[in-house]
Symmetry: C2
Subunit: 576 residues, 2 copies
């Protein structure tokens, strides 16, 4: 039997568009004589559909498409399709289901058992867990069909488990001889490797081949890397799909063992003969450590998809001459093409000469358009209007108004020219509130919102390394960071060195450690208290922040839900 | 036995502050010879603590406070305290618990069974449900102790139930003779009455007295009305606490029947003898329909608490001469005192004469400060800077820049004078995106964000009715609404009449009906499609909106989680 694993990039809510992808691949698979096509978790709706699932009309339309559009395609080829599904007999229930469709009927509905409801996940908000688990018969082969989280609870693999149930174990106790997992597993740095290790161990443990089919593409803040896998029963990777790209994988099974695997780009499949050459499957070593290449790839995908899926094709952004806007500009230019990127230089009376020079040099290297708009006129206008003729006070109000003038200019260009504004701030400054609400925080997408400042530097160096020359001028990388909102301002006047700051942020935000625990690790108490206090007191800014692309284990946004109006218990616990 | 029900207003995360309230009331109850003091759900942490619950240090501190601070107070008086609690034997579990503390020990831990995980609730994110339910013994009386949602699943009361389990039924099957429910039940219009009907029916069904103790106060977007109740076993309301206020209720129980009930303001309890006079309990009729008095009270509480709990004491807001800013200004002045409110008039070349006059008259009626800052200078400055000497185009970019200049001015004043900016937009305009991101959407709290425009009118009329004169000048109420961002602009150029718009919003947002379903109710298809499309396409604005106070069954914010980058299935379903 030939099995096709379709690592596709669905758009949330775009049922017709997603159906079109599904239909195209099924027809190709049909021509190629495949027996089964596997799509990712909730492939029909895209993941995560969020509160679209609360609309009955949406679920009705899903059901209509499955019955009227997908079933007629299954005369010769079966499909395992991820979709939200209402079991007929139990009114009010909704499953996150893998539907096995064959010969024009719904053969079986495999509901997800383990529903993640932590971090960015809200699955208990929508779905009921499976209460019954049974293997499916696929070409006579008993197959364990699981959905994403279902495979993440192996008692032999994890020290601590989140759930009591292990659906995989239960399915193998019923004699399954093949394991399929359909997923929408979002990316963070290191995730692909973590996933691969776990999946290989699982295939080996049960001694069966494993098809892991993951969604690729970015939906709002979540980036899905794909990295679909086919493993042998010995726990060897037979095929590893490219990350961050759509791919259709053809795998020949002989005596229930995968013997030949070939991957195609989705469009390629359409153009060329879809029947793969036979070849010995390569025994691949484990994926190497994920480095800046992965972060860069993830951000590119996130940026491309956010634009594509919101209907924008070009962007505008501020070019300050600093490293954050430089890295953002490179990402935008290399992802969308230089012609689609407009960099706006908005110097003020406090801008250093080199910031304009550096920004222009960067823009020249990238070939992007620039526009220079000095903000002195509106700035001095505001000062005259709001200071009642008194001399400037160089206070926070005056610093912020500069950032807000810049935000207004970018939004003006966005409104008039239909360009999406890219926000350039990094995670470190967003964490401690070193940013201006409605100022530099303006924008439709905050590209680096989950990239700590130290990682921004690494990305910049990686970018220059890849290019083989200083695409990002060295001075941008090596000068002292400054917001340039008052004379001689430097980030490090207000903040500790970024290496130190980022360690603290990691402990407090990603590891959920609190003041005393962090101090116990050897950090200075006053500093820890100051930083934690800054983070706590600036929740209100992040509440109104642009959506940001997630690349760490804990991003701001839906993955971290903090109260705004609150007491600050850490100050109290410090006293005790 | 004397039972004390403490309807308190805890601040999320302020463990020491909340402990202080708990301790004060317990000492008074102790002096008054009470046998039991009941506090609301999660009283120690405030509800909802959100991701503070993911910090072990936070839970450690809760545990420390219970053991070291609360238990020593229970020598003579027992306490039923809502707190997050880790059962010792099962590592990793966390309960939303009612702890019965007496004579220096934790007598029993009653975990919540039904964990709401819909709308604004995320309880499955944090808590495990109770697996065992047993009545507590309180002065020898078998008592069913339940937490909020636990009482909302009675099969005799509801046509459709959300959960299979009914913890109340189970507890009464074990012979309970008293029902206690501790809650943090957020307000929406009609909720108090809905709650009272349900609770009275439940007390009657089981034939036992019921103590319902609800949190009061506002935390971020959620307003808790309190409205704690004591019901007789005949389903009569014996005592109904005032909504939107802290109150401590003393109730004498004789032969397990409540015989005398008196309520005190929390501070009053501190000053006067806490032992209530004996009196026959009044048999009260059901609470009357909730009207604008309730909405107004809810918004006042929301406003007062958001300021108090974030540490602000004064506000600044734009006064446009329109009805939204007028109602917001009245709310602010009547809640915080006129001296704490600064109204800023920011007329432009497109402002009508009457807008300034009307705003000044309103301010004079309220006695609030005003400042007038004409935005012509920055506006024409921007036009010159950004239009390259070309004539104004009167396009969206130019409309928005006016709103953004106003936002900047308010934020400047906020930054310099430490006043919180109040956002004045209503739910209807937020729904269809008839508002400017970073412009009139600027602010720390969006007071009317969940009040539809038609309800804003009702509030205005109610306000004037209460005052006995036109606090809000009649012209503000009766003139045609306009954003005044271009010549002769009127809301109704772009939007349908508000009565019609609000009906559609109700159906689409609160009722989750979709295009075809709404059209089937008799609305014109083109209009429905246009409005639904506007709502869908402006999710990105609401994503960055200020927190708003919830007064309907479905507010924007955490209660409605929609994707941003998405396909729009309604256009497709229309074609089919």
């Amino acid at each position: 039997m030939k099995i096709v694993a379709a690592q596709i990039n669905p758009t949330v809510g775009d049922l017709q568009g997603n159906l079109h992808k599904i239909r195209t691949i099924m027809r190709q698979a049909d021509c190629a004589g495949a027996g089964l096509v596997i799509f990712p978790e909730l492939a029909l709706t895209g993941y995560p559909p969020r509160d679209l699932l609360l609309y009955d009309a949406f679920l009705d339309e899903v059901q209509r498409i499955v019955y009227r559009e997908v079933l007629p395609l299954t005369c010769k080829v079966a499909v395992l399709l991820g979709a939200p599904w209402r079991p007929r007999k139990k009114e009010g229930l909704l499953y996150n289901a893998a539907l096995l469709l064959d010969e024009g009927t719904v053969v079986s509905c495999h509901a997800k058992t383990l529903l993640p409801n932590y971090d960015v996940f809200d699955e208990s908000r929508y779905f009921s867990p499976a209460t019954l688990r049974q293997p499916a018969l696929i070409s006579g082969l008993k197959t364990a069909i699981t959905i994403c989280e279902d495979v993440w609870n192996d008692k032999d693999y994890w020290e601590r488990r989140l759930y009591a149930e292990d659906p995989v174990e239960e399915l193998f106790a019923q004699g399954a001889r093949l394991l399929i997992n359909i997923s929408a597993s979002p990316y963070h740095l290191g995730k692909a490797q973590q996933r691969e290790r776990m999946l290989c161990a699982m295939a080996k443990k049960y001694g069966v081949p494993l098809f892991y089919v993951n969604q690729v593409g970015s939906n709002d803040e979540l980036i899905f890397d794909g990295s679909s896998l086919i493993c042998s029963g010995e726990g060897q990777v037979l095929y590893r799909a490219e990350p961050f790209k759509e791919e259709v994988i053809y795998c020949e099974l002989e005596d229930n063992l995968p013997v030949a695997v070939t991957g195609f780009e989705r469009d390629e499949v359409l153009l060329t003969a879809p029947v793969p050459e036979k070849a010995s499957p390569p025994a691949k070593i484990l994926a190497p450590e994920e480095g800046m290449d992965w972060v860069y790839g993830a951000l590119q995908l996130g940026l491309r998809d956010y634009l594509g899926k919101t209907g924008f094709s070009s962007v505008v952004m501020g070019l300050s001459g600093g490293i954050d806007s430089a890295v953002t500009a490179v990402l935008a230019a290399q992802t969308l093409g230089a012609k689609k990127v407009l960099g706006v230089l908005m110097p003020s009376r406090y801008s250093s000469l080199h910031s304009v020079e550096d920004a222009l040099l960067l823009a020249r290297n990238l070939g992007i358009q620039t526009r220079t708009i000095n903000i002195e006129v509106p700035f001095s206008g505001y000062l005259a209007l709001l200071n009642d003729g008194v001399e400037p006070k160089l206070d926070l109000a005056e610093e912020n108004i500069q950032a807000r003038i810049r935000g207004n200019i970018l939004m003006f260009i966005s409104n008039r020219e239909k360009r999406l504004v890219l926000t350039t701030g990094n995670k470190s400054e967003l964490a401690v509130g070193y940013c201006t609400l409605y100022g530099d925080m303006c924008g439709g997408l905050a590209v680096l919102a989950d990239v700590p400042k130290t990682m921004v530097y690494k990305l910049a160096e990686w970018i220059n390394g890849q290019a083989g020359y200083e695409v990002i001028p060295g001075r941008i990388i090596y000068k002292e960071p400054s917001a340039e909102l008052r004379p001689r301002q430097k980030d490090q006047d207000t903040l500790p060195p970024y290496e130190l700051l980022d360690s603290l942020l990691y402990l407090y935000i990603e590891e959920n450690k609190h003041v005393n625990e962090i101090v116990a690790l050897g950090y200075e108490r006053d500093l820890v208290e100051e930083i934690v206090s800054k983070i706590d007191r600036t929740e209100y800014k992040r509440f109104q922040a642009a959506p940001g692309l997630r690349v760490t284990t804990r991003a701001f946004g839906t993955g971290r839900r903090m109260p705004l109006a609150r007491g600050y218990f850490h100050r109290v616990s410090v006293k005790n």
